[in-house]
Amino acid sequence: MNDRMVQVNQMRSDTDLAAELRRLGIGMTVSEARKVVSILGRDPTIVELFIFDIEWSEHCSYKSSRKILKKYFSFEASNVVLGTGEDAGIVDFTSVNGIEYAIVIAHESHNHPSQVLPVEGAATGIGGIVRDVDCMGAHVCAVADGLRFGDPDGTFKPRTRWILNGVVDGIWQYGNALGVPNLAGDVYFDSSFDDNCLVNVVCMGIVPRNRIIRSRVPEGAKTRDFDLILVGKPTDASGFGGVTFASEILDEKEDDRTIGAVQVHDPFLKNILITHKANRMVWDLAFEKGIPIGMKDLGGGGLACASSEICSAGGVGAEIHLDRVHTSMENLPPEVIACGETQERFIFAVPPEFTDSVLNIYNSVWELPKEANGACARVIGRTLRDPRYRLFHNGELVCDAPIHEITSGILYDRESKPLHWEGREPADTRMDITDALSMIMASLNGCSRHPVYRHYDTEVQGCALIRPGEADAGIIVPLFHTHGSRAGIALSVDGNPFIGEIDPYWSGAVAVAEAMRNVVASGAIPRALTDCLNYGNPEKSGAFWQFEQGVRGIADAAVKLWQYDTDREPVPIVSGNVSFYNESALGQAIKPSPIVACAGVIRDAGKAMTLHLKEPGNRIVLIGDRRDEMGGSAYYRTCFKQTGTQSVTVDFERERKDMHAVIALISRNLVRSCHDISDGGLLVCLAEMCLSTRNPPGLGAKLIVPGNITISPERYLFTECGGFLLEIPVSQIELAERIAADFDSESVDLGEVISRPEIHIVQHERTLAQISMTDIHRKWIGILKEYIS
């Protein structure tokens, strides 16, 4: 250790040290740098400082959020196979031919990279989350995405449209080439995302329970050293500083640095590694021979992060020779080799006698070096029984630190102070119902998402049973081709961004309720949740309070909307991510945006529901309370340009009973179509049931607004309280009502399906509106096309 040391001790003042850290491109604070010195007992090398910087970044260490997450997310459920803590969470799925299959799911954000380089940012977001799921030994079978963009007609119109199109391109270019279907997602537009878009990605896979690969060095390494093998793309300088970049506010003046921090994707190489190909061959061989292995993907923080975490989790140290890492450029500095975030890489820890087999599979059988320039598998070091993390570069020791100090991170107590919401109620909230519905259905946040998802391959792998646009959740039957199993997995992603500033607690709770409701409406039973918590700067007390409230809301909903058919077992949160510092350089934070994904199981996916009306004469039944909670509603925002004051809430007791009743009704084949009530409220829900992207409007509905409601018809029709509309044949109505009552849920007969494409709304036998679906359809399907080329 010599001239590449950073003199932290001797620096005269905090100001000097801060300037030096900045010059080096290190994001940590002065006091954190001094803490590194106290851990090492000496000045750090540049490499060490970069490694601690990454491991202590918000992105890797959750230093602001960990305490809150621990406090609220500590509940458990018996269907969890593996909770948070590794690359992905795992829950039970189904048993087929004596094999217990589990669902693997992970959720991440790639917000900042997508803002500066949309195509690459979004693509590597998909790439990273797919690796997280794959490396658990899973077959990756679906991705989904929650997207938030700025106002494409607003102040930053050209840039916002460029980001929108770039992100969509990045998602399809990567996911389609990889061969993983895009099953679900949502898209919202709001000017608070002008300077900071959100690209949240979810990935799902399946794995036999007895074939899970852990992100830790196996037990055997405590008695003899295991080899560490690096597989994949040659390391380059791309993505250097990516994690630190994710943990800061974006500053346009620093474009060069931030663009360099975005990774470059290679779905082609990834395809050879995953989906039943090279990685699977390694796992199968290991299981066949009974050889213990550990595997982890290289994501944020690159090699240093992955290698230290996989070894530390196994209770061992590591010795890695950076010069043995295959690179695509000459003379890469050791800190770049250690911390760069080059994509499409994995690390294995295997016993030495298995090493040749692994190298052979990648280098010869699948010809990595031949098919992808410079890619290969290589031994780069070994585990150490001594729990130190040692990196060598050209024979010189460039990092030597206690491994658990690197991976245990640091913790902060952040100040939390409530923000007062200064929204207003619109002066007059009456409007012609036809006009209001037309405005909402033709608004950017209310129109069809088909122009976005038509770019995504929703059908590759041949397992898709419900695609985006057909129901509230996507459904796949991933074991049908291999085992003839009809068991399906439903996936939905949700998070209304317009509630958070009115009430951040309810925005968390509503996101969970909506994601679960989507799964329920498709006929599946919610079994797991993941979340990505997108907020502003945690060093600001208001933003931190919003985060804390969101977490509390999510936790309450997950616990109180417990799993169907269980003894009050919460719906477990098995994976998640916190994304802070989502604000513009001018300090304007995004709207608080907890985005929640829900995975559900449907035993016989042949019973899965779509949302389109099926047959004239069937009854339309409402399940779900209509309360006067108009804050953040599409009605207020679109028709009156106001956000309002009373956020939509969740009546947990009622919501749970309603969900469980709907699950029972669908599983007993009483329902012909089902759609959940969320954005836009009951009337938008009904309108969507009349609209298909594949068909001109054909069916409509006669809707009878009950005479005994305590709120105005407009409010009844447009409030966004959760609920369901179900299409039920007349012959089944009595039975359906009885079953709903068994669950202590209330069903209200609201009218019938008619054979004309219109919605006829009546109260007290007086027509309130007669709305042609043909006009609405044209606008609904056409609006977003104009923004996406």
Partner: protein, 280 residues
């Protein structure tokens, strides 16, 4: 070789991503499917009765989609097998590979006469994934993959590609294609009309071509994905036409997993062709 078993090699190039579901669909049609990796011994290919080049992004679509795979030794071996009359189905990227080899349309031997260009439908370009309808075209001598269709049959099927526009600069070639009845399937409306515009014609393909044969009718470059329409559960419930109705009925009587989908006819035709060939 067992005379009762029909063996199909589903060829896997680096970047192929539809080989497993394609194999499942081949199996569903009653044939035996083997995923055949690009670097396996090409000599072993001669043992198969037919071949499927599945969809994906072989060799990362470098140069042009399908261009690299078309030059590989394994593909040359396939050309020799096709010359013996064995059937080859190229789906999506597989179709792009067949066009790049010149096998399709194959009027002038060894010459690349057409291209699968970028989708272009007026104001729209880029990747498009959705269900469309195709029509089985009248042929003097039905091609291998039309055998189980009647002329005019309408088949709903998904497309998913960014470069699927059959195109050529030669008007004469277009006449020849029609004269030799090399067009197996055309994009059409739900009721079978040929509309050249999006979304009926999802790529802007010339003459609405969805599937195109070589002159012998045993090799077809086919842009849609029959393996994604081989079981009824894969069909969307809001699909217009008779298949949407069938799908809804299958929901009511719980039969969507054991009813064939509209695309299976492509694979069952292939099987029929191989059986016919064995008899003759």
């Amino acid at each position: 070789m067992n005379q009762d078993i029909i063996s199909i090699a589903v060829v896997q190039y680096p970047g192929t991503n539809c080989e497993f579901e394609t194999s499942a669909a081949v199996a569903a049609a009653g044939m035996n499917a083997v995923v055949f990796r690009w670097n396996a011994d090409p000599g072993e290919l001669s043992g198969f009765d037919g071949y499927v080049l599945p969809g994906g992004f072989s060799y990362q679509d470098r140069v042009r989609a399908g261009a690299i795979a078309a030059k590989k030794r394994i593909t040359e071996t396939l050309i020799r097998q096709a010359e013996q009359g064995k059937p080859i189905l190229g789906i999506c990227n597989g179709a792009q590979i067949l066009i790049e080899t010149g096998m399709v349309p194959g009027i002038v031997w060894g010459e690349i006469q057409m291209a699968l260009a970028k989708n272009n439908t007026g104001d729209r370009m880029g990747y498009h994934c959705d269900w469309v309808f195709i029509r089985s075209e009248p042929q003097d001598n039905p091609g291998c993959f039309n055998l189980n269709c009647r002329s005019g049959d309408i088949i709903p099927i998904p497309v998913a590609h960014a470069e699927g526009r059959f195109t050529t600069q030669s008007y004469k070639l277009l006449n020849d294609l029609t004269r030799h009845s090399q067009i197996g399937f055309k994009y059409c409306t739900v009721s079978g009309e040929i509309d050249p515009d999006f979304p009926v014609n999802p790529s802007g393909s010339v003459l609405n071509i969805a599937g195109l044969y070589n002159t012998e009718g045993n090799v077809m470059a086919f842009m849609p994905h029959p393996e994604r329409a081989s079981w009824m559960y894969q069909v969307p419930m809001d699909l217009p036409g008779i298949y949407g109705k069938h799908r809804m009925e299958s929901h009511l009587n719980q039969s969507c997993f054991n009813t064939p989908g509209p695309g299976l006819t492509i694979f069952s035709s292939m099987k029929q062709f191989i059986l016919n060939r064995r008899k003759s």
